[in-house]
């Protein structure tokens, strides 16, 4: 199977709220000093799903990421986990792109790689949380798509897929090729092995620009945005918490029970 995984590098979502800063003029997040960006959480599950399918059915996994030179660390980690090849997309023309504009570049890269059986990506990225990449890729590549996906199996030359629903899941029969937006329920991403980490240093990672993809600047980046960011800010949250005071935790517990009863909450 030829599988392509699209991944994104994001500011570490685990940083404490107090360290989270925004530049309102530039409309961007200011990453805290010394905290390395990470592969977006759901993309890790997508990488793992791709590697597992390759292990079961043979084939090749290529991972793609659009971004500045730091994304090469993300691509190397994906290779260290078990992906076979990687491509970085980088060009000033890509800047300011929303999910759709970014997907235009990704889709062009996927087509440049050749035929594919499956495109996997995380159901949403842990920065802008828009969740639009899977649908954008499916639409641009003109193939079937499903999101969010908790299970994928190859059956009878096609796919058996389970979409997550609020109270369970929905089974769908899908063809190859398809685009799937992967959800965390699907697997536990593996850690790279030492052998993998050493191998990842040797895999060449080409850099493709808009021109390499046959795209003009007005087809990508901010010019191709379907939604326009007008404002980005950190909401001010005032605390209005009434703290229950008492000498011991046990007394606090009892007082809390009384407070809840008085308020008719229990």
């Amino acid at each position: 199977m030829d599988i392509v995984v699209c991944i994104k590098q994001v500011p570490d979502p685990e940083i404490p709220t107090s360290q989270f800063k925004v530049d309102e003029v530039a409309k961007r997040v200011v990453p805290p000093e010394g905290v390395a960006p990470v592969i977006s959480t759901f993309d890790l599950h997508a990488i793992e799903a791709a590697i597992q399918l390759k292990e079961q059915h043979g084939g090749k996994v290529t991972v793609i990421s659009l971004g500045p030179p730091s994304v090469r660390d993300a691509l190397k980690r994906a290779i260290a986990m078990g992906c076979d090849a990687a491509v970085q997309l980088e060009d000033p023309a890509f800047e300011g792109g929303d999910s759709y504009a970014t997907a235009v570049a990704l889709a062009a890269a996927i087509k440049k790689l050749g035929t594919f059986d499956l495109v996997l990506t995380g159901r949403q990225a842990a920065d802008w949380d828009s969740g639009q990449a899977p649908a954008a890729l499916a639409e641009l590549l003109d193939v079937a798509g499903a999101v969010p996906v908790q299970k994928v199996e190859v059956r009878d030359g096609g796919l058996y897929v389970e979409r997550v629903t609020e109270d369970g899941y929905q089974p769908i029969d899908m063809p190859l090729p398809s685009v799937l937006g992967i959800s965390n329920e699907i697997n536990q991403p593996r850690y790279p092995t030492l052998k993998g980490i050493m191998a990842s240093g040797k895999v060449p990672i080409p850099v493709w620009t808009a021109a390499d993809l046959g795209l003009s600047p007005d087809q990508v980046g901010a010019s191709a945005d379907r939604i326009v960011l007008q404002r980005l800010f950190v909401p001010v949250r005032e605390s209005k918490c009434e703290f229950i005071e008492a000498d011991t935790p046990q007394e606090m517990g009892e007082k809390l029970a009384q407070r809840l009863r008085e308020a008719r909450l229990i």
Partner: protein, 331 residues
């Protein structure tokens, strides 16, 4: 070119109207009040015409009924072309839907099929000076808020965060029209075959519909302390949930997780025990009417959201809280 009014796309539901649809209808009426134009609701499926009168009673000026076996069970490959055709014919200015597991799939693909954009998982809808939609949504797990407009001057799509908006209230004597629409789907474009949804077994009261929820996080210390939480839940008739930390640690199963990518709850009472209140967690419970937090750390983020707080160790607070609660409620 932009049209007029707001079109709501109903959540897939055979028989009765889904609560998510009523939330979006409520938001649509408020938006149409500011923007002008009628409010319409589209219902898709096999047996959906019966939903129309109830929607009109709650303020829909028009209900578009798309009734066709190909639309049930839901799948993107039939819903997207059917909706694209409807929207081209009826020309609304704004199309709204709920950001459910289904809406997040078809809403996005529909926007791109129409050559326009969508702002997903919105927490508020405003009108910009030029009359276009200004959609507000939490980003970066909830650490920040972003405001977006849809590029161009065509139809604007937005999906709304579930359980955040109030359901549309009945409008006594409200009249509206019911229109049966032809369903236009090119069979060669239907590449998938969807099957009926499978309900996963739920243990205890349904978390997302519970009126009272207690949840535990890393501060519970370990799975051996979880019975203390279960007993509180039993004493006050609450469903039990957990933070992602407790699930990742393997203390409790995944379906208990409340958060940005877990269950979304909006109970009357939410008791968060040993939960720091990271924004991704609050994204799942900020709709709660009253939040009570029990945490050893007085600086914990959860206290910025809670109305009532106890700074203390869960293991010491819970037994006394449970005992007193049982005594006061006679349970």
């Amino acid at each position: 070119m932009a049209g007029n009014g707001v079109l709501v796309i109903g959540e897939p539901s055979e028989g009765s109207v889904a609560p998510a649809t009523l939330e979006v209808l409520g938001a649509a009426r408020e938006l149409a009040g500011k923007m002008g134009g009628p409010v319409a609701v589209a219902v898709l499926g096999q047996d959906v015409a019966g939903q129309a009168p109830g929607l009109i009673e709650r303020g829909a000026d028009r209900v578009d009924v798309l009734s066709d076996p190909r639309l049930s069970p839901y799948q993107a490959d039939t819903w997207v072309p059917a909706l694209a055709a409807l929207i081209r014919e009826t020309s609304a200015s704004v199309v709204l839907l709920s950001h459910t597991q289904t809406g997040r799939e078809f809403g996005t693909r529909l926007a791109f099929r129409l050559g326009t954009g969508i702002v997903t998982d919105c927490s508020d809808l405003q009108v910009a000076d030029n009359g276009r939609l200004l959609a507000v949504k939490p980003v970066f797990g909830g650490n920040a808020v972003a405001e977006y407009t849809v590029a161009g001057d065509g139809v604007q799509l937005a999906s709304l965060r579930p359980k955040l908006f109030d359901q549309a209230a009945p409008v006594p004597g409200h009249q509206g029209e019911i229109v049966e629409r032809p369903v236009q789907i090119d069979p060669s474009q239907v590449r998938t075959k969807a099957h009926e949804r499978v309900r996963a077994a739920a243990a205890g009261p349904d978390l997302e519909n519970a009126q009272r929820v207690v949840a535990g996080g890393r501060g519970m210390g370990g799975p051996e302390n979880w019975p203390l939480l279960d007993e509180l839940a039993s004493a006050i008739g609450a469903a039990v949930g957990a933070s992602r930390a407790a699930v990742d640690a393997g203390w409790v199963p995944g379906p208990l997780q409340i958060g940005l990518t877990g269950a979304k709850i909006s109970p009357q009472l939410y008791v968060a025990v040993g939960i720091s209140g990271a924004v991704q967690h609050m994204a799942g419970c900020a709709g709660s009417r009253t939040i009570v937090a029990i945490n050893r750390d007085p600086e914990a983020n959860i206290f910025r959201y809670a109305q009532l707080g106890v700074v203390g160790n869960a293991k010491e607070v819970l037994p006394a809280l449970t005992r007193k609660a049982r005594e006061l409620t006679g349970s």
